[in-house]
Point group: C2
Chain length 128, copies 2
DNA sequence: CCTAACGTTAACGTTAACGTCAATATGTTG
DNA sequence: CAACATATTGACGTTAACGTTAACGTTAGG
C-alpha cells in the first residue's frame, strides 16, 4: 500500500499558507503528523484535516472550537452523555451557520443591487 | 417630525453588546452619533449602521473592511474611477461570500449526517 | 447637598493567530 | 568538503477587537 507523504513546505504551498501556521495548528492540537527523526511528515489524512481547519476558519470558527469538534469526532462516541454533548454542540453550531447563511443572502442581495446601480451610473457617464 | 433617540446604554442593551464596543466602533469611524454636550445621542440611522456592523462581523469581515464599504456607500458615487473601484470591491466580496455560502452547505450537510448517527447511537443505548 | 446612576476620555491589559528572527541541525549537490 | 536549502525549537513581536480600570463630570431623587 503506497502512502504518499509530504514535507511541511510542500503542504504549506499546496494550501497557500505558511509553515509557521501549520506548526501553530499542531501546537494547538489540531494536527499530529508523523516524524522522521525530528522532521514532520504529512499524509493524506493530514491534508484532510488541514482542509477542514481552513474551512472552519473561513466560517469564522476560532481554532479552539475547531479542535473541540475534532475531539468530539475522534471520541469513538459511545457513552450517553458524550452523545448528548455532541448533539447539543452540533445544534449550537448549526444555528450559527444558518444565521450566517441568512446574513449572506441578505448581503448578497444588497450587493447585487448596489452593483447594478453602480454599473448603470457608469453607463450614463459613458453616454454623457 | 418626531426623532427617537437613544443613550449608549440603551443601544448597547438592545444589541446585546457593551458600550465599550460601541465607542470603539466610533473610534474606528464606523459610527458618528450626535452629541448633547459631551454625551452621545443615537438615532434610528445609527441603529441601522450598527446592525450592518454586526452583520458584517458575523460574516467574518474585519472592522476596517466594514468601514471601507461604508465609505464607498457614503461617497456619493459619481466619478468613474470611484465607480470602478466600488464594482471591483463588491465583486471581490461577493466571491468570498459565495465561497462561504458553499462552505456552509458542505458543513451543514456533514453535521446533519453526524447528528443522525449520534441520535441513532443514542437510541440503541436506550434499547440495549 | 449627598449619593447613585450614568456618562466621558485616556491608557494600559488581554487573547487569538500567526510573523519574524535567532540559533542550530540535517541533507544534498556541485 | 563547502555551500546552500530545508528543517527544527524557542522566544519575542504584532494586530484586531475589545475588556478593565482610573479619574472625573452631570443629572435625578430623597
Amino acid at each position: 500500500m503506497k502512502t504518499i507523504s509530504f514535507s511541511i513546505s510542500e503542504l504549506s504551498k499546496s494550501f497557500d499558507i505558511t509553515p509557521r501556521a501549520i506548526r501553530f495548528y499542531e501546537d494547538q492540537g489540531l494536527l499530529s503528523p508523523l516524524r522522521e527523526g525530528t522532521r514532520r511528515v504529512y499524509q493524506e489524512k493530514d491534508r484532510v484535516r488541514l482542509r477542514l481547519i481552513l474551512r472552519g476558519k473561513r466560517l469564522g470558527f476560532p481554532l479552539s472550537e475547531i479542535k473541540e469538534i475534532f475531539d468530539l469526532y475522534d471520541n469513538e462516541m459511545g457513552e450517553e452523555t458524550q452523545l448528548k454533548v455532541l448533539i447539543r454542540k452540533i445544534q449550537e453550531r448549526r444555528l450559527r451557520l444558518e444565521q450566517q447563511r441568512d446574513d449572506i443572502e441578505v448581503v448578497l442581495t444588497e450587493m447585487l443591487d448596489v452593483e447594478k446601480r453602480a454599473k448603470a451610473a457608469l453607463e450614463e457617464l459613458g453616454e454623457a
